[in-house]
Every structure is written in C-alpha cells, then in structure tokens.
Subunit: 210 residues, 4 copies
DNA sequence: CATGAATGAGCATTCATTCAT
DNA sequence: GATGAATGAATGCTCATTCAT
C-alpha cells in the first residue's frame, strides 16, 4: 500500500536484514487492516500478528507497544492523505479549481481507503498529539495556499485578510472532512466531483443574493 | 446541567420513586464527567459511581451496561447541542445572520462544555448509530433552514439548487464542527464571534474575486 | 399444586394473616417453577418474586435466604413424591405387584412433574443433608416393606437375608430413579407400565437361566 | 492421575510444546480437585490456577471458559470410569460374574475417586448434554453385553427379550450408581464385594419365591 | 530474529441481602 | 406486611506485555 511507503522509517526498531524489513512491512499492513476494521480498542496485537502471519512475540521485535504502531500508522496515513491531495491538485489552473480537484480527490480517497479516515479520526482519542499534528500540518499548507492565491489576486481577501486565512483553512478542511465522511464513508449516493462542485460553488460564489 | 433535562427519559430502567429519579440524575451527571474527562475506554463504572456518591451496584439499577449509559448520554447531548444552537438563532433577522449567531453559539458552547464535544465525537467509535443519528438530525434541520431561506430569496440558489442543499448542510456543519474543535476546544485565541465573522463571510461572500 | 400442601409449615416465618398465607403459597409455587426451570444457581430471587407478582423485598418476609426456600421446597417435594408412590401402591395384592405399581407411578409422576425430579437431584449439590434425608427416608420405608414381605414369605430371602434388605432397597431405588430419569424425563418412548414390567420382571425372575 | 490419560486430547487449545502439555495436564488435575472439592459453582478459576501453580491468565491459554474445562473433565472422567469397569470385568467367566465384578469395581472406584462421581453427577446441572452422553455410552455398552449374553444363553431372556435390554441396562446402571453413592461415597460400612453380592443375587435369582 | 507460553493487573457485571419508607 | 432502591463482595475473563527457548 502506497501510504506505507515511508512506514519503515516510523517503526522504532530499525530492522537490519531484508527479512526484517519484509516482516515490518507485513506487520504495518496487518495493523492498518486490524485497526481499520476493528478500531483501536477492539484491535488486538494477536489479531495483527495473525494477519501478518507471524508469532505474537514478533510484534515486539518491531514495536514498543500497541500505541506505538498506532502512532506510526497515523503519521504515515496523515502523510499519505496530504500527499494524495497535493498530487491531485498539481496543475490546477487556479486556486478555486485546485479546491475543487482537491476536495473531489479527498472524497474519492476516503471512499477507497476508509480505514485511513477512521484511523486518523480515532487518533483524536488515542494519540491526540498526532491527531493535532495531522490537522495543523494540513491547515498550515492550506493557509499558505490561500495566502498565496490572495497575494496573486486569484481569490477575494475575505474578512480580516491574511489574519483570517487560518480560520478559513480550518473551515474549508472541516467542510472537506465531513463531506468525506458523508459521501466517502457513509453513503456513495453522489459522485465526489459533484459533491465538490456544490461545496466549492458555495465557498466561491457565496450564499449572498446579488 | 441543563443538557440533562430530558435525561431521565433515556435511562432504560425508569425509576419509580423520587429518590430514584435523583439518583439517576446524579449518575448521568457523573457519567458525563467521567466519560468527558477520561474517554469511553478509560472511564470506569466505579469512577462514575464514586463521583455520583453511590455504590457500584447502584449503577446497574439504572443502566444495563457501560455502553448503554454512553448512548443515553450521547442522545441527551445531541439534543442539548441542537437545542442550544436553535435557541441562539431565534430572532435572527435573516439566514446569514442566523448562520453567524448559530456558529458563534456553537463555538462558545463547545468552549463551555468540552465534554459534550468529546463525547459526541467519540460516539463515532463506540456507538456509531447514535453518532450518525446526531448528524443526520443536525443536517436535516440545517437543510430545511437553507431550503426555506432559498425559498424566501434570502440566499442564493447555489449549485444544484434544492438538490444541493443537503450537501451544503454537510459542508456548513463540517465547517462548524472543526471551528468548534479548533477555537472552542484547542485554543481560545479568537472570540467565537470573530471566528463566526470570518467563516460566515467566507460562505456568504465567496472566494471569487469580483 | 398438591405437593405444596404442607408447604406453609416449612416457611420459617409463619404468616399470621390470610393475606400472608396466600403470599407465601404464591412464593413457594413461584420458587418451584423458577428452580425447576432454571436450576438453583441460575434461579434468581427476583425471578421468583416476579413470578409470584410481589416485590423483591417481600421474599425476605417469608424466607431467610435463597437456600432456605430451596430446602423447604426439597422437603415438600420429597414428602410429596413418597406420598404419591405410597398412595399408588395401596391395595396391591403382594409385594411384587406393589413394586410394579410403585415404579410405574414414580415414572409417571416424574413425567408429570419434572421439576420435582430435578430439584430433588440438584439438592445433592446445594443442600446435601436434605438430599440424604430424602433417600434415607425412602430407603427406610422400602426396607421395611421388603422385610415385612420377606417375613410373610411373599418374596425370597435373598443374599444375607434381613441384613441385605437395606442394600436391596438402595438397589431398587437406584433402578427406579434412573428409569424415572430415562423414561420420565428424557424420552417418553415407552409407557411407564411397560418399563415397570421389564424392570420388575428383572428383579422378580432374575437373570439366571433355569 | 490415570483417568486423565487422554485428557490432553480434550483441552480445546492444543499446546505445541512439551512445556505446554505439562501445564495443561496440571491444570486439568487442579480442576478435577477444585471441582471435586467445591463443586462447580463454588469452584474458582483462581482456585484452579493456584493449585496448578500457574498464573490466572494461564488458564485461558488452554481453556475458553470455566464451563469448557468442566466439560473436558467430565468427558475424561466418563471415559475413565467406563474403561475402569471394562478392565475389571475382563476375564469374567460369564455375564453374572462380570456383573458382580463390575459392580464391586465401580463401588471401589467411587470410593477411591469420589470427585469423579460428584463431577459427573453435577454435570447434570451444568452440562446436561455431556451427562447424557455419559450414560448413553454406558447404557449402550451394557445393553450390548446383555444382548450377547442372552444370545449365548448365559442369561434368561427377561421380559420383552431384546427389546427389554435397554431398559434392563438402565435399571442395572441406576442400581450401580446408587450403590456407588451409598457404599462408595456416603458410608463405607460394607465391602464393595459384599454389596455386589447382595445386588447381583437380587438380579440373578430374583425376588420371587420358588 | 522468531516463537508462543506465561503473566497478572484491570474491570464489567451479577445478585443475594438489607432497610428506609 | 409490602415495596423497591441501594449495597458491595465476589469472580470470570481479556489482553498487552514479557521472556525463556
């Protein structure tokens, strides 16, 4: 799974052999599946090692604790999610187009990888610092994009100008996350692009009658 | 706590005496505190009964299980949150004003009752059905408000007109929830009204340069 | 139920009013049903009082404890069982005829009142003294009957004459109990009289080829 | 204890190492002692593991639940009891001699292993299916022996011939079980062989005067 | 590195019994 | 007598973690 590309770097105990690297990879994938399907508390180390096809004790060759794998996983998934959206947005002609593409990509990504969504959100209750990091990074990138676009005159200044950018970033991300949950996770009754159309229209045109 | 006003109705085992009603109330308040502070999994029934000042077994006079109190609590809190916002919005001259007031009220409410926010969000991982109910109710009310305002010409039609209302409702709620988390729960570095100003300006004026 | 005819005499706390006697009777019947259906350990005082249609606390107006009702019940049932068999045997022309009638009656009784069988047998693990009393009484009566019949020359002396009577009584009762279990409780694939025919033929004619 | 010889085969979770097999054996022996002394409901898993000299959790490495060990134990004991009687009977010149030897052996066995008797009988109230299996196996073997002996003309046909064999088997087993209880468990005031003499005389010569 | 048996703290839940009303 | 809320000891079971092999 691509979102585990940098996973090895998160495992606390660096494997020295090729065999070790393979085992670590399998454990991470197994953990993603176990946590994604059962949630952090229902997930069992045993469940992870059975999925990975290794003995129970092997888990502790690579991770200090249950929480540690979970944190490693959340970090990887955070990175993967942000990378995916960033990638999707590349080449967009302007900020509003980028918004639309990014949002559609996020919803589609959530639909394809529901476990990522769930695991990241559950981090709120298991490893709050990692959860915060995730959204702080996301928001910071977003804020920069908004600021840059504003600088280029691509988008309106909005209330409070630059000072308001962070708030707008939070607003836009909250919007995306909930649309991801609703249209990615819960029901697939609308295409991601269509959802993005409606939502981006909302924030680009605004509700005020003119 | 006002949000427990209808709580007695959620306790599965109806108390028959006045004394019983009082005990149930105390248990619910204790549960709210325990779950809010420690989270569902760290929370202990023992912790609840100690807070309530009753014996351990008394808990089971009123609830079937740990999960059951939690569900009862989430339902109460969902009701309380929606009621609070609805109340705050009363008398707003138009939809956009209502949006602003409602959002500010929500952020302030989250700031005052962080345990409500946490408990409701954790429901996602403990009692997903109740969590869905919560947002489905919220969205439905929101959607109706948008449709009505659109009908009165107070707000623009937006992409896909009526069909798009549900999506806009999700978008606006997601926005609110995240702003509540950021400015209500995480850091209080901006007044709820100011946050609401920026966010509502975003969705009323839109980002498009004119 | 007839086997509770003397029940009131076993309840430790004698009711003084008519209302009290009625409540006691209902509690005993409820207890018989509860213990019979669920077994001693699964049975709940609550289950008994619900069946009896009284409040939980009322139970303790009539009985000291769960074990006490159980003991009272076993004593009543022991009495009822022995009385039933004794009654059935009355007027039998001789001992072997009495054996046959008594055994058939016991199997039929077990079939009609499975809870009696179960409750008495479970006493072995709950109130062993009462259980022993039950069979000691049964055996003693049996032994006397055998001795009398032997004295009248109605039956053979058997090994060890009078000294052997007690052993024979145990053997015959064991036989009966197991036939009661098999043909009264487990499967009703043979009429009590036919079972009695086979078993009594066994002990009257003997297995030796002549 | 010899009756646990096949015990390992009943433990649900097969141990993979020698050490594991030893622990399983010790747990089964401890369980037999605990259940035998305290009865199923009074017995505690903790009591079992303390006797076995292992930690509490170790129990659950080998058994799913308290009930499961109990069932495994009853099955082992059923096997052991039947094997013991079968062994004792070997080489008996004819059926009546075999009856006598078997009965004496059963009483002596009960005297030596009271916990076996108690555990099997308590199964009636804890795991009825296993209890039924036990006696159905016992009866079936018994019935076959009777049928064979009848075929060889060693014993009389008895009422209903072959059809009556099952009933006779139940009768004879019931007899044995009660004599085991009385002279094996309750009081040892008569030697097993003497008890067997009286009882077998009863069923071989019969009560009818000739 | 891998294995899997062993550990034991931790906790939800049950239910007989008490007692104030 | 009757009621039902309150009590709290008791215990089965889970599972992350350790460690000897």
């Amino acid at each position: 799974m691509s979102y585990l590309s940098q996973a090895a770097a998160s495992g606390e105990k660096e494997p020295r052999t090729e065999r070790g690297r393979k085992t670590l990879r399998r454990l991470l994938e197994a953990a993603a599946a176990e946590f994604g399907e059962r949630g952090y508390h229902e997930a069992a180390i045993n469940g992870i090692t059975v999925r990975a096809g290794v003995a129970l004790g092997t888990f502790y060759t690579y991770f200090e604790s249950k929480e540690e794998v979970f944190r490693a996983l959340v970090r990887d998934m955070s990175r993967a999610t942000r990378a995916h959206v960033a990638e999707a947005v590349k080449g967009a002609p302007d900020r509003l187009a980028a918004e639309r593409t990014g949002l559609a990509a996020f919803i589609a990504f959530t639909r394809r990888h529901p476990e990522l969504y769930r695991i990241i959100e559950e981090a709120q209750f298991v490893a709050e610092d990692v959860y915060r990091e995730h959204y702080l990074s996301f928001v910071e990138a977003y804020r920069r994009n908004l600021a840059a676009a504003r600088g280029r005159g691509q988008i309106a200044d909005g209330a409070r100008g630059e000072e308001g950018d962070e708030t707008r970033a939070w607003a836009l991300i909250g919007m995306s996350v909930f649309l991801g949950m609703r249209y990615g996770l819960w029901r697939e009754d609308m295409a991601p692009e269509d959802v993005a159309d409606v939502a981006i229209d909302l924030v680009s045109e605004g509700l005020r009658t003119r």
